[in-house]
């Protein structure tokens, strides 16, 4: 089960995420295109000032779902490798919440695969984001 996997690198961590580490994982001599998405904490959401965010995860299931997405993206777009890192805990404005990195022989599938991974992550991975504003806090997406 835990044999080395050179094609999928999944990380859920309360420590800062490294773009270089993602790049080093996905890079390969046969690949000409690497695409990355980095999601950071914005100072405004729907026009409201945000002071900081807290990310909570149902960790074992989040990691399973992240791996499923990486595997699906690699198959669907013929990617060489996928790295998917997500942060947990308290994050400040500008901090990196998520990094997606993919490598591919050509660039078009790299873009498509990278976007697929972040879109799917936002739909299915059990991670929750509590937004803190000057006037209080709330869990995002939870209520109409």
């Amino acid at each position: 089960m835990d044999k080395p996997d050179v094609h999928h690198d999944i990380l859920l961590s309360d420590q800062p995420l490294s773009l270089d580490q993602c790049r080093d994982f996905v890079a390969h001599p046969s690949c000409g295109g690497l695409c990355f998405f980095v999601g950071t904490i914005r100072d405004l959401n729907l026009g409201e000032t945000v002071t900081h965010l807290e990310f909570e995860a149902y960790a074992p299931m989040a990691i399973k779902e992240m791996r499923k997405i990486a595997v699906a993206a690699r198959e669907k777009f013929g990617l060489h490798a996928v790295a998917l890192y997500h942060r947990t805990g308290d994050l400040a404005i500008g901090d990196v919440a998520v990094i997606v990195a993919v490598s591919s022989v050509h660039r078009k599938p790299a873009f498509e695969g990278c976007e697929f991974v972040i879109d799917e992550l936002k739909k299915h991975v059990p991670i929750w984001k509590k937004e803190f504003r000057p006037d209080g806090s709330h869990w995002l997406n939870a209520r109409p």
Binding site: A97, L121, K129, A142
Partner: protein, 78 residues
């Protein structure tokens, strides 16, 4: 049985888990109904899913003893 709660579900349950009796053998769909009845706050969420043993559970699945059950309010990663 113990049901784990994250995010907005934790606020509704008033803690990181809640307990409901006699869940063995009922379906996930039945559990959803039981939850909304016991904690009306769950009915006020945009939606919520149930995870059984670290996988999204379908409403027709039946709960068996020892299952790990988790309420999954709308996710917001990324």
């Amino acid at each position: 049985m113990k049901i784990h709660c994250f995010g907005a579900a934790r606020d509704i349950a008033g803690g990181s888990s809640l307990h409901l009796e006699d869940l063995e053998g009922i379906t996930i769909g039945d559990l959803r109904q039981r939850l909304v009845t016991a904690y009306p706050g769950f009915g006020e969420l945009v939606s919520f899913a149930i995870a059984r043993n670290e996988e999204y559970a379908r409403d027709e699945e039946r709960i068996t003893p020892g299952d790990e059950l988790v309420i999954i309010p709308p996710v917001a990663g990324g």
